[in-house]
């Protein structure tokens, strides 16, 4: 067997085993998207109710100046929560988030605000530590399946940094990927604190009820706002997890397709090489036989 033939066989074998791996990854990711989507759905009622409650309190009590709702006069430091994934194999997922985070950091600096990154996901953490950037906080190990406890942990750190008297942060932004559909995920930048309760575009049919508070509006707000931030962080983590799986599925699908295409091309080349080898062998045999026949004819 010719050397070229052996080489091609070896390459086909290696590409085929890569294709097996990427195909498996693709299937795993597709099954996890469904689960992640279900978790996103399950978190919706709580988020909706808590948003309604916060809207109710804030619109009822314009007089309450809670530290979490008031914009600082001269912001100097801003926390940026960057949500990335723990593992690679997901195409441009992390690169997109980090690029957007860099753009936001540039924008903040031009306003004279120093950005402080808080990073979720090992990919983002290594990206920052490789560049020697100081991080306000880092969390990893749960990006593909976050629990509420993870969100609480992150929100606690953010809120305590926000309420700290010295060396705190004056704003909190989140850079993450939003799950729009199976095929589209968008990187979004949102400001979480100081709080801007999301305005709904549709007007409620009835004016918001005038709430009574137990014990008082201030106390309710005190415990409601941190929960609201937690719930926002949690939904961000869930969205990002679903997006990660979708991005991974897409990346692995195109990897599998590419591998199959490579296998096709190599197989063709291999067949060509084999055919050329056979043709050469035949012409050698024919040539040899002719030479023998000519020699025999010459003797006579």
């Amino acid at each position: 067997m010719g050397a070229q033939l052996r080489l091609l066989r070896r390459r086909i074998k290696s590409v085929r085993s890569t294709a097996k791996i990427t195909r498996a990854q693709e299937l795993i990711a597709s099954s996890r998207i469904v689960k992640a989507q279900q978790r996103m759905q399950a978190a919706v009622p709580y988020e909706r109710e808590i948003t309604r409650a916060v809207t109710g309190v804030v619109s009822n009590t314009a007089s309450v100046d809670h530290p979490l709702t008031v914009a600082r006069e001269n912001p100097t430091r801003a926390g940026v929560l960057i949500v990335t994934s723990d593992r690679g194999f997901c195409g441009g997922f992390n690169a997109n988030v980090l690029r957007e985070a860099e753009a936001l950091a540039g924008l903040l600096r031009s306003r004279g605000v120093e950005p402080v990154p808080y990073v979720v996901g090992r990919k983002g953490i290594t990206w920052h530590s490789f560049r020697g950037r100081e991080m306000g906080g880092q969390w990893g190990g749960f990006s593909d399946n976050p629990s509420y406890a993870n969100a609480k942990e992150i929100a606690d750190v953010l809120i305590s940094a926000f309420s700290a008297e010295t060396d705190g942060i004056d704003e909190i932004h989140i850079v993450s990927t939003e799950f729009v559909s199976m095929l589209t995920q968008e990187v979004t930048v949102k400001r979480v604190l100081p709080l801007t309760v999301e305005e709904t575009t549709e007007k409620p049919e009835t004016p918001l009820p005038y709430f009574e508070f137990e014990p008082t509006a201030g106390d309710v707000l005190d415990s409601l706002l941190p929960r609201y931030v937690e719930s926002r962080v949690f939904s961000t983590l869930l969205q990002s997890a679903a997006s990660e799986h979708a991005a991974r599925r897409r990346a692995m699908k195109s990897a599998t397709d590419n591998a199959n295409e490579l296998i096709r091309v190599f197989t063709q080349q291999m067949n060509q090489a084999r055919q050329a080898e056979i043709t050469q062998e035949i012409s050698e045999i024919v040539g040899g036989a002719n030479a023998l026949a000519d020699a025999a004819a010459g003797k006579e």
Binding site: R39, A42, A43, P45, Y46, E47, E49, I50, R52, A53, G56, V57, S147, Y148, A151, T206, L208, P209, Y210, F211, E212, F213, E214, P215, D219, V220, S223, L224, R227, E230, S231, F234
Partner: protein
């Protein structure tokens, strides 16, 4: 008579939703009973409280609710719980075990706030499951 529309939700899932005649929850100010036509209220729930939803005819729905809020508006009651568990879902043996362990560590160290909260939670779970707790 009008009915209340009740939803019990935690961050991870919707635990229960349906209609009811009366909802009894425990806020930091004390127990609050909500019936149809109740004025809009937003209250903070205590850690380790028991929520009771009275439904005419059917047995009461009881749940252990650890922290969170109750909001009432237009005959809609939302219980936003950080952690909540229906009485029927409580693993009694485990809850009892957890309570004994937590109480033991409280006795060993009076300052142990975590264990005290744990004991409270376990007690609420047992009460939600309809167990007698001393």
């Amino acid at each position: 008579m009008a009915k209340l529309r009740v939803g019990v939700v935690s961050p991870e899932r919707e635990i229960w939703s349906g209609e009811a005649d009366m909802v009894i929850a425990k806020t930091i100010e004390g127990e609050i009973g909500i019936m149809p036509q109740h004025a809009p209220v937003l209250g903070v729930l205590v850690e380790g409280g028991v929520l009771r939803v009275k439904r005419g005819g059917e047995p009461d729905l009881v749940a252990a609710v650890h922290g969170g809020f109750v909001s009432v508006a237009n005959d809609e009651v939302s219980i936003l719980a950080e952690v909540a568990e229906l009485g029927s879902e409580v693993d009694v043996a485990r809850a009892r075990n957890a309570m004994e362990r937590a109480q033991a560590s409280v006795e060993a160290d009076q300052e142990n706030a975590e264990a005290a909260a744990g004991a409270k939670r376990a007690r609420a779970r047992l009460r939600a499951a309809g167990e007698e707790v001393g």
